[in-house]
């Protein structure tokens, strides 16, 4: 399952959504807003989503993980809106009988989601500059207002 959330993510509450008596392994990933990126202080971050397509593509990523690996349950939730440093941007949890599948699926979901799900991240820096981040090229040429490096 995949969904977007405009409100802060509660990792403990998300964890409680997953349970299965045959689950020997739970692997989880949390992506958080770092207070620095490429040497610059990040004061705020915005996630913008093309919601209709992001939810479809996110659901496809999770479904692919379930086809590739023997899983019991899998959930990925991505924040939208404005986040402060330290806030949770994405949460992934995977239950499986065994740990290899749980780890592999968790990593598959975050790797694919980062490059396929139409969500965009704009970092706002301490000096007032901001930058649309590009997962593939990390800031190269997609800048709307280049930070002073």
């Amino acid at each position: 399952m995949f969904r977007l959330s405009a409100i802060p993510l509660d990792a403990a509450a998300l964890r409680r959504e997953l349970a299965h008596p045959q689950a020997g392994a739970f692997a989880s990933f949390e992506g958080r807003v770092r207070d620095h990126n490429d040497g610059q202080a990040v004061v705020m971050l915005e996630y913008e989503a093309f919601a209709a397509l992001a939810e479809k593509e996110g659901a496809r990523v999770v479904a692919e993980a379930r086809e590739k690996f023997p899983l019991l349950q899998a959930l990925c939730v991505h924040r939208t809106g404005r986040l402060q440093a330290g806030e949770l941007a994405v949460w992934i949890g995977v239950l499986a009988a065994h740990r290899a599948a749980a780890f592999d699926a968790c990593r598959y979901i975050i790797d694919e989601a980062k490059t396929r799900v139409p969500v965009w991240k704009k970092e706002h820096y301490a000096g007032g500059a901001s930058l649309w981040i590009n997962a593939a090229t990390r800031g190269e040429s997609a800048s709307s207002s280049p930070p002073e490096l």
Partner: protein, 80 residues
Amino acid sequence: MKKVRVQYFALLREQRGQTGESLATAAGTPSELYAELRARHGFTLPAERLRVAVNDEFAAWDVPLRDGDALAFIPPVAGG
């Protein structure tokens, strides 16, 4: 002329100054439509760096545009 709706996100939204627009176009494909809009609005991103969605689903750049289509040009994504 076809009537289509275009949604803008992220850098394209900022460069266009709005989240979307309805417009009439002679473009036959998303590729032709983006070239037309890029020329009109000065979008900095070349089509090679974008993907396109038609009616909320990824599409090829050369599908025929139909009257009433909803398009979105998708800048490089960066979730997580």
